[in-house]
C-alpha cells in the first residue's frame, strides 16, 4: 500500500474550495492524466455517488471505479475504490479546515495498483510513477483553481451588448 499525503494552505474560503472539490467536472483537471469522468448520479458529489473515470497511461486508456463513501458538507470528502480498474485498493480523504477566511486542505491517498489489470501491456514502473505524479500534484492543482478570481468590476464580464 502506498500513501501520499499533502497539506496546502489555500487563499480562498472553504466554500470556494468545496465547490471545486465536489464539482465532478473538475476531476479531469485535478488529476492531470484523467481524460473523462461520468458520475452517477450526475452533478455535485453526494454520498453514494459512483464515478467511472478514464485516464491515460502513455498511449493506453485505463479505468477507475470509485464511490463517495463519506461526505461532511464544507469539511470532508472520502472516496473509495469499487471493484475493477487500475486500482486494487484506493482511498482518497480530503479534509478542509477554515483558517480565518483561508482554507487548509489535507489530502491523503492510500492505494495499491492491480497488477492483473495492467497485464503485460502496461509498464508497471511507468504506471506507478504516473499515478504518484498525479496524486502528488492534486493538492496544488486544487489550490490553484480555488484561488482563481473573478474579473474586476470594470469589465462587463458579459461582453459587448
Amino acid at each position: 500500500m502506498t500513501r501520499i499525503e499533502s497539506v496546502v494552505e489555500i487563499e480562498a474560503p472553504v466554500s470556494a474550495v468545496w465547490d471545486i472539490l465536489t464539482d465532478t467536472s473538475y476531476i479531469v483537471k485535478l488529476f492531470r492524466d484523467a481524460v473523462s469522468v461520468t458520475a452517477d448520479p450526475p452533478g455535485r458529489s453526494v454520498l453514494g455517488q459512483k464515478y467511472h473515470l478514464t485516464g491515460k497511461a502513455g498511449r493506453r486508456r485505463v479505468e477507475f471505479f470509485l464511490e463517495v463513501v463519506e461526505l461532511v458538507p464544507q469539511s470532508t470528502v472520502v472516496t473509495r475504490q469499487r471493484p475493477g480498474g487500475l486500482f486494487k485498493t484506493f482511498m482518497q480523504k480530503t479534509v478542509l479546515e477554515d483558517k480565518a477566511g483561508r482554507t487548509r486542505a489535507h489530502t491523503v491517498f492510500d492505494y495499491e495498483l492491480a497488477l492483473g489489470y495492467m497485464g503485460k501491456v502496461l509498464n508497471v514502473v511507468l504506471v506507478e510513477r504516473l499515478v504518484r505524479d498525479n496524486l502528488t500534484a492534486y493538492s496544488h492543482t486544487l489550490k490553484e483553481f480555488s484561488e482563481l478570481l473573478p474579473l474586476p468590476a470594470e469589465g462587463t464580464g458579459k461582453g459587448a451588448t
Partner: protein
C-alpha cells in the same frame, strides 16, 4: 494533422463535451444544454482561466456532419467577441486527417481596462494549438488489452 485512429474515434472525442477541459488546457469545466453528445443547436457555457482570473465562454454547435465536419460558433456575452471553430475529418489509409480552423477576437468590453488584449489573444492561440495536439492524443488512446 494525421491522427492514427479511425474517424469514429476522433468524432467520439470531438462531440463529447466532457473532453473539452482536456482539449483546451485553460478550460476548467463546461455545461451543455441540452445535455449529452453534441447536436446542432446545443448551447455550451465554458469556465476557463486567463492567468489568475476566471472567465466564461459561450458557444453553440452550429453544424454537424457525422464523422466529417464539426462547427462551433460563439454566442454573445463571453470572453470572445467572435468565435468560430471548424473541424473537418477525412479518412485515409493511416487513420484520419484532421483540419482545424479557428477564428476569434477577444472581447475588450468583457475584460475591461488593465488587461493586455494581445497577451490574452496569444494565450487563446496557444490553447487552440494544444487543442489539436490533445485531440490527436486522446483519439489515439488504446484500451489496455488492445494490440499495439
Amino acid at each position: 494533422m494525421l491522427v492514427e485512429a479511425k474517424p469514429e474515434a476522433v468524432w467520439a472525442v470531438l462531440t463529447d463535451a466532457n473532453y473539452i477541459p482536456k482539449l483546451y488546457p485553460d478550460m476548467l469545466n463546461i455545461r451543455v444544454e441540452p445535455p449529452g453528445h453534441a447536436r446542432v443547436g446545443q448551447y455550451r457555457t465554458l469556465s476557463g482561466r486567463a492567468g489568475r482570473r476566471l472567465i466564461e465562454f459561450k458557444t453553440k454547435v452550429t453544424e454537424l456532419v457525422p464523422f466529417k465536419r464539426f462547427v462551433i460558433t460563439g454566442r454573445r456575452g463571453g470572453a470572445l467577441e467572435t468565435f468560430s471553430e471548424v473541424i473537418e475529418l477525412e479518412e485515409n489509409e493511416e487513420g484520419t486527417i484532421v483540419s482545424a480552423l479557428f477564428d476569434f477576437k477577444v472581447s475588450e468590453a468583457y475584460f475591461g481596462p488593465g488587461f493586455d488584449i494581445m497577451a490574452l489573444t496569444q494565450a487563446a492561440k496557444l490553447n487552440q494549438e494544444l487543442y489539436i495536439k490533445n485531440l490527436k492524443e486522446l483519439s489515439e488512446l488504446r484500451d489496455p488489452g488492445a494490440p499495439k
